[in-house]
Amino acid sequence: MKISLKWLREYVDITLSPHELANRLTMAGTETEGMQCIGENWTGITIGEITDINPHPNADRLKLVTVNLGSEQTTVVCGAPNVRIGSKVAFAPVGAQLIDGHSGEPFRLKSARIRGVTSNGMACSEKELGISDSHEGIVILPDEAPIGTPLAEYLGDVIYDLAITANRPDCLSVIGVAREVAALTGQELHRPDTSYAEAGHPIEQQISVEIADPELCSRYCASLITGIRVAASPRWLQQRLLKCGMRPISNIVDITNYVMLEYGQPLHAFDYDQIQDRKIIVRRAAAGEKITTLDGLERTLSPDMLVIADQKRAIAIAGIMGGIDSEVADGTSSVLLEAANFNPGSIHRTGSALNMPSEACNRFERGIRPELVDEAIRKATKLIIELAGGQAAKGLIDVYPNQQDQEPILLTNEKIRGLLGIDFSTDRIVAALTSLGFTCEIATNSSGVRATAPYWRSDIKQEVDLIEEVARIIGYDKIPTTLLGTTLPSQSPEPMVKLKQMIRCHLRGYGFQEIVTYSLTSLEILRKLLPDNSIEPTPIRMANPMTAEQEYLRTNLRANLLTTLYSNRKHEDDSIRIFELGKVYLPRQNDLPDEPEILCALLNGPRQSKSWHEGDSPVDFYDAKGTVESLLHNLVTNLDFEKSSDASLHPNKQAAILIDGNKAGIVGELHPGVREAFDICEPTYLIEFNVTTLLPFTTGHKMFRPIPRFPAVVRDIALTVDREVPHHSIQSNIEGTHLVTKVTVFDVYSGGQIPGGKKSIAYRITFQSPDHTLTDDEVDKVQKQIIDKLSRELGANLRS
């Protein structure tokens, strides 16, 4: 909310500098988001009066204007169309800092010869003074502007842009902020005079009001002013509205806005003569009821919306906007002024449903107190009489069916100490609360006070609310700074956090770059993952997607990784290894989706960065599998692989990752069709596993194994087997043999001297006994057993 410092000064004496004031307000909860200092740079600019105007000898459109500055007279060249003898103007002498009327850049005024006449200064436009963009004519000041006074003194101001928190609608007003300033600086609030002469007939003879739904309207207050004249507002009022960011319209409308800014209570003025049968009914709209609002749009209403109606029709949407039929217009002579209190939730829903945010709506939906209406309606009525003429009817309409007074709340010193960690004396507590308008009474049977909130505060409901008031007035900086000294909760670290960290660290070590992608994606991208464009499982859809690219929750990480790979391939020709570890969102019946943590990684391009060392062979399946083996051998004990059939992967180049026999993930080459769908040229390898599934297999406790005491014997054997025999079955055959501690395949070969349909495969076998040094004979015997078994079970022959 924008607040003028000058306006604020009408209610409270301010001795702090504008910056100090901003800081005090900010610290106590009213944040100053911006500060505009009007007149900061107006050094030397004074108020002058035009005493003479003569034609320029050499230019028809220019004039020679004589300005009286009090102590001196000066004549300058002026081209503005609105110069008149007797006008008060803002006069800038040579050396003044101004804004260029055309370029908008700041400049320093120099003495100039204009068409042969020297001009030492100028009368300024609003744009040249930096007040607005208006440059059509010079600023004409009000007649009472004192000649010779510095302009900054007369017109200067500071406009604060304050962020009012949602709990403090009372501060959406100049008086509300003035109350804060008074409390924070130990000043008294000067209350404006709201008295006026009630010259007309009693109001109840001229209008009646009925609240049909007291739940949505707790209070309705009205005054009636007859014989008014609608015109433009005086300059001072227009200026104040403009400074607060509101556009002047007419005196009546401006007064309702002005008083709303002053007190925080929205008001509405009806053309009294348009109210049928002199009766106002505050009721819910009928289903489908229509009203054309002030902006000329026809609105269709529903029964959860509240309207102000006469006997025949709705004449306003309560708290949102008036109807065009009862608008105060040029010919209006009598005004019914409304100050009411509407249900915050209802106003919020209506404002959102009709998409009609407004200053009034903003205040009502935060829950202002019904008591704000009293002073606001009087002040507005007073201003209408003063500025638009007419006379006020005797009395006010005030329908307030269920008045709710503020209840006293007990605040104990003990609770303050318990919550703030510091003791404040009862005197200090009372002083803080009293400065904010609370009434305090020393509690009788406990040490503390019973405090009652002032009528304008809607946010004080319990003891902690009082504690915050005390703390913010005394200052948060008075609260000490301590470290937690309470019991340390039993430490049971979430194993998933640790596992995720380990996986990330290992992959970083293997040269993978971590990426983080959005959780939302599109069906179009998910479709690319399967050669037949099907989608499995069906992803969860958003009810209000922002864009088509962000319409569905991702069910896998593959699509985002492939998209990232594609976009980086455009500028990167080196090896790319990327991974993401994050959640996917799988629908479940009648519950939140399942959100397993998934690891997905891609390898693409050369195995090693291009260098002068080795050739640049591309990555292959075994690079991907090697990554899985290195990573998972660190984390689990029983890792295995078997052929798999994931439709997004190459049918012959993929394997399921098994942990203790359970399928936990997959490794393989991307299906060429899928790869093409993502516009990726080279073969791409994918690793994917479910970290959540993996978790239970990683938490086992490891035990130390002693270092072997007796030397190992190493033997190499080369076998010829059918090509179809997988390495895995040979290895497990050898591994199961007595005394064998390690089996390593070190050569696989076919063609050449190897007969067709066969392959040669060579193993290094390590033999070791835990209790003695092996003899050659012993090893020979075991080796023979192995070869016999391989020959028997797999048809393998020893190559000589």
Binding site: A166, R508, A543
Partner: protein, 346 residues
């Protein structure tokens, strides 16, 4: 006899000087120091000499043998040196050529920041925990005193899930803050509680340099008997000191969040202007880092924790902002575009 020995020595040393390889050296050794050498013969025949000659000849012969042996050792060393020099001269490489590259991986700057923040809170006894991204209206809003018509909802524009609402827990949504995890922890755990909750959060907002529909937050919560706002200030101050460095000014001011009372906002002195005021800090000299406060009694009651016995504090902080401030990153979208030219800088 002695002069013969001197002669022998001079001859031998002269010959030694000319030797250039190991083989010649061995021949020389056999020749002058071997079992059949003249010197050995002299030493062996000492007993046959006259008594008065025996001592001076013996002394001289032994001295000469030591001198020849020393000469041989020195020659051996000299030859070895020559040989090694020759070998290493052969093995010449260009040390200016680059080394064999090891693959270099990196963690995402957001992950690194979360790790760093969690580590600081860990050391103060806070444990990392987590909750679902897709959340019930209840935990994201209702349990935190943010009812349906609360104005605070307007600033947290919500992405709703297209699934029929639950009777008790309301509509499903993408959590707008990690404070939803705080609501879950209060409901499911008993004091003493000390947790931090990092994770993804979502807003229904158009993307620009300062907004993305998804970003990261970390919330924290401590509940026990006797926890005060002084503890809140101390904990957050300690975090700021360790994350932003000793001597960086920290400010606590009053602010409003529906689920805490009193409410606190913590700001640090601007990293660009050090408090003098600049564009980054909107000329205030301060940069807001997090919102916090003492957990509202109604929030505790909803989780069946008695506010008369227990108190606690909660805080919530944006993660993305931290590396942006630290590295001067001016566009939040860079984190989620995953351009390797950006990611490889961290």
């Amino acid at each position: 006899m002695i002069s013969r020995l001197e002669q022998l020595k001079l001859g031998a040393l002269k010959e030694l000087d000319l030797i250039t390889d190991a083989k010649e050296m061995e021949l020389w050794r056999v020749n002058y120091l071997g079992k059949k050498s003249e010197l050995t013969g002299i030493l062996r025949s000492l007993s046959s000499l006259a008594v008065e000659e025996r001592k001076p000849v013996g002394t001289a012969a032994n001295r000469i043998r030591t001198e020849l042996e020393n000469g041989l050792d020195q020659k051996k060393c000299a030859l070895r040196e020559i040989q090694l020099t020759a070998v290493t001269r052969e093995e010449d490489i260009d040390v200016t050529l680059p080394g064999r590259p090891l693959p270099t991986g990196r963690l995402h700057p957001i992950t690194k920041t979360i790790n760093e923040v969690c580590e600081i809170y860990n050391s103060m006894g806070f444990q990392v925990t987590s909750g679902p991204d897709v959340e019930w209206n209840y935990y994201n809003f209702e349990a935190l005193n943010i009812h349906d018509d609360h104005p605070a909802r307007d600033v947290m524009s919500t992405s709703w899930v297209d699934i029929e609402a639950d009777k008790d827990r309301g509509q499903m949504l993408l959590r707008t803050h990690t404070t939803s995890v705080t609501a879950r922890v209060i409901e499911s755990q008993n004091p003493p509680i000390r947790v931090v909750e990092p994770g993804r959060v979502y807003r229904y907002e158009a993307t620009d340099a300062t907004h993305t529909p998804m970003f990261h937050q970390i919330d924290g919560l401590a509940i026990d008997k006797g926890i005060t706002m002084a503890d809140l200030k101390g904990t957050l101050y300690e975090f700021a000191r360790r994350f932003f460095g000793e001597g960086r000014g920290v400010r606590f001011r009053c602010d409003y969040f529906p689920f805490v009372e009193p409410g606190v906002e913590m700001a640090i002195e601007c990293l660009v202007c050090n408090g003098r005021g600049c564009r980054l800090c909107g000329n205030t000299g301060w940069i807001e880092i997090l919102g916090a406060g003492m957990v509202h009694p109604r929030v505790l009651e909803r989780g069946n924790i008695d506010p008369e016995t227990y108190s606690g504090f909660a805080f919530g902080m944006g993660i993305d902002r931290l590396p942006m401030l630290r590295y001067g990153i001016d566009d939040i979208r860079l984190f989620y575009n995953n351009d390797l030219r950006f990611l490889s800088q961290f």
